[in-house]
């Protein structure tokens, strides 16, 4: 197992380098606003633009820029400075990470608490009225875009702009001083972010459970006289949940990487997703690069965790 983990970590590092290279190439190959020109302002003459280009090292060959960047990241954990605000990229990302982590953690709990029971019950009570109605509701949540759902939730339930003043509203995370207040400010975003994912998990688990419950070993377990609850939970769910764990690993990694952009934007949560939108709009390569690297790191880590979890969830899987 240790050798397997070491090998995966090494691959992960290689993957991070490749991801960085791809971002560099994308930034240079595809049209993007010139950071030197943006920074020089509207009265800039060509000399000033050139001076800024030199100062930002944008005049260096792309491979030199890339090499310098990689050295900074891997030797000094230095992600450079923002082209626009000149702020330290690492500091900004680490400053924004807790908000994203809290958003993701809370919504994961909610979508698992809702999605898993709904999926199991629907599978067990297949074709019942309850099954059919929950599947229709889940389809509705999957179809609703997050930004729309977020705005509707705000205008219905937010304390500041809502019709019924129940939950803290837009930007309340910024005013929250304590951990509990931050959690309270996240209630609405958690539910909005969790809604579609819980629906997906419920449908996915239902489908997986239906397949599993028709397996021979389930019939054998029943024939041996095991109580139905044990058959479902110990034999059915344990096997059916493996693909859900894969999904979970990917989802958590992606959300920490900034995929909660829409939720963070609608509710003004100062997280990583919101920062990447700002950075892309300003052609701020160091910031984009830093966030992509952090994101790739999380995706790799969570995939590794998922693979290790497999071994414990499914006895058929053992890593040599």
């Amino acid at each position: 197992m240790a050798r397997y983990i070491a090998r995966r970590v090494l691959w992960g590092v290689a993957l991070l380098v490749i991801v960085s290279a791809v971002v560099f190439v994308l930034f240079y190959v595809f049209p993007s606003a010139d950071p030197a020109k943006l920074r020089a302002g509207r009265t800039a003459n060509p000399q000033l633009i050139e001076q800024i280009r030199e100062q930002l090292h944008l005049d260096d060959p792309i491979y030199v820029q890339f090499w310098d960047y990689m050295k900074g990241v891997f030797l000094h954990f230095d992600f450079g400075r923002s082209f626009t605000s000149q702020a330290d990229v690492r500091t900004i990302i680490l400053d924004r990470l807790p908000a994203t982590a809290l958003l993701v953690a809370g919504s994961v709990v909610i979508w698992l608490m809702i999605g898993l029971p709904v999926g199991i019950i629907s599978a067990v009570m297949r074709r019942s009225l309850l099954d059919r109605s929950t599947m229709i509701i889940t389809l509705a949540f999957i179809s609703a875009p997050v930004f729309w759902l977020g705005l509707v939730a705000l205008y219905l339930f937010a304390q500041d702009v809502g019709l019924i003043h129940i939950f803290p509203g837009i930007g309340s995370y910024l005013s929250a001083d304590t951990f509990l207040a931050k959690c309270e400010s996240m209630l609405l975003p958690w539910m909005v972010l969790a809604a579609a994912t819980a629906a997906i998990y419920a449908r996915y688990l239902r489908s997986s459970m239906i397949d599993t419950m028709s397996e021979d070993y389930i019939r054998t377990a029943r024939a041996k006289g095991l109580p139905e609850r044990d058959v479902v939970l110990r034999h059915g769910v344990r096997s059916a949940i493996t693909p859900i764990v894969t999904l979970l690993g990917l989802d958590v990694g992606l959300l920490l990487a900034g995929n909660a952009i829409l939720t963070e934007t609608v509710f003004n949560i100062p997280g990583v997703g919101q920062q990447i939108v700002l950075s892309i709009r300003r052609s701020d390569l160091p910031m984009i690069q830093g966030i992509v690297l952090f994101g790739a790191f999380f995706i790799i880590i969570f995939n590794l965790i998922v693979d290790i979890l497999y071994a414990y969830l499914d006895p058929r899987v053992r890593y040599q």
């Binding site: 302002g41 800039a44 060509p46 702009v161 003004n268 949560i269 700002l278």
Partner: protein, 612 residues
Amino acid sequence: MRLKRFRLIVPVCALLALVFALSSCGDDDGGGGTTAGGATGIPDEFAAPTAAPDDAKKGGDLIVLQEGDIDYMDPGAAYYQVTYTLDFAMFRQLVSWQPDDTADPTPDLATGEPEISDDGKTITFTIQDGIRYAPPLNDRVVTSADIKYAIERTLLPGVPNGYTATYMADVEGLKEAQAAVKKDETTAPEWSGIETPDDQTIVFHLSKPSVEGVLGALSLPISSPVPEEYAKEFDAESPSTYGEHVAFTGPYMVENDSEGKLTGYSPGKEIKLVRNPSWDPDTDWRPAYVDTITVQEGFADPTSASKKILEGSSSISGDFPPSPTVVKEVAQGDKYDPSLMTATPSGGNRYVALNTTEPPFDDINVRKAVIANSDRVALRNTRGGELFGPVMNHFLPPLIPGFEEAGGLNAPEGLDFLQSPTGDPELAAEYMKKAGFESGKCEGSECSITMVGDDAAPGKDTATVFQDQLEQLGFEVNFQPVEHSLMYTKFCSVPSQQPDVCPNVGWIKDCNDPECFFDIPWYGPAINPSNNSNWARLDDPEVNKAIEDARLVTDPEERAQAYGDLDKLVTSKAGVVPWVWDNDVVVRSPDVAGVINLANAFYDLSYTSLKG
């Protein structure tokens, strides 16, 4: 270009009198004047209050909601309008802007007006004694050498200032200082034309009597003092990290630690301002009512953010205008008090630039036809309607000297193609015939034109409406929507890549002097191979000469007349389709007594207070 950036240069016209003449309408807070009425086109109920109420109270925490961030915390690099809103409260400059100043700034660090030599080539300021920096530099007294260093450091590439070299170009020794920077990019150069004979005196020696430009630059954050011994280690880095360790002199400061590192600024997230304990109110005219100011950023949806302000407390809007939905709701007065919203002329304008160097728009008759045909009211309405500004009829905006001389809110006399704001298709057809198109519509291969504009509302809406108007005249328009900054940096501001039409360009005041409205956007020799802001690419000898002549006029009235005439001349060249003189629209919570700084067209944080 970027319409939320501006600079102010001391004008030479007595515009102040005009402003006071327009200030007859009292505001709801019982305070001083407002700016409203015919010259601005702003209805009285939305006029900007420019004085605090008589019973304004001290204390409280003010919240500013913003979509984006400031550009730079470093006053040497600051350039955005929203940044100046904070800078005016955090830094003391040689001269600065009181809320109702639009003509001349008020001495701030300076003890009084500058002494100008008879030949107009020497400017001398005396500064107050005993002004101290905020902690941790609270034992340090501001000297004239600090102001000299603050200006010199803006020549460093690590301090990206876009205007020092432009507006202080006539201060002696600039070229030598720039050459010194080329050799050593980490040390602020000696600028020989700036002298500090003692700790309270600073002298500027000019090679030409161009006092206005230099004085104007000194009314901006570059004249905020920077202690060299403290800042030079940060300036030695590239880029400078002084912005993370700024030394404050104004009534407010960003929270910092014992080393001076800012702890209250999270870029893109939040800025926390607290009172500067070193600030002495006896040396300043700012009342500084509120105790703290928190700028909360990231409010991407202007509708929900505006409602949060209007229905909440202690809040004002920052860099975003309220959405048209909210503007309508407030204006109707059913749900919200209309006085919670104010509009202020931003000193900017928006227009559609026609590339005058290539067919078909190298023919002035075609250009006049396009302008005559344009429904400029429809274009203006894509920004949100009347409150966002009157239809633009010439170049100088309201409250700028020369505006009235050029025609005020109306089109200059004799320019028939601008007389109908909703368009005159018959006149357009006549001009097309004059251009050789017998049918009155554009025909032939040269009528297939390219247009590059914004890919998001409201800019994209404007572009789409204009595309329809062009097609009515027979043009076949290939419209390429791109991201706003890309539109400038890759297309419209790069002459070699310039399309035929740029529908989303505009100019906001670099200064309150009319000179700043022509030297860059209309002066032929100023056309750059990149970052070009003469989007019509008009290089007309008659216009160029008129611009050069107007610069030399110093008498305020004559100068206003000269620039009014210049405005008419430029407008007659039909290089652009003018469609709005921008207003900045802002909202506040009911418990906020907001005061607008006319020079900046945003709330003045030092004068805004909380009620009760």
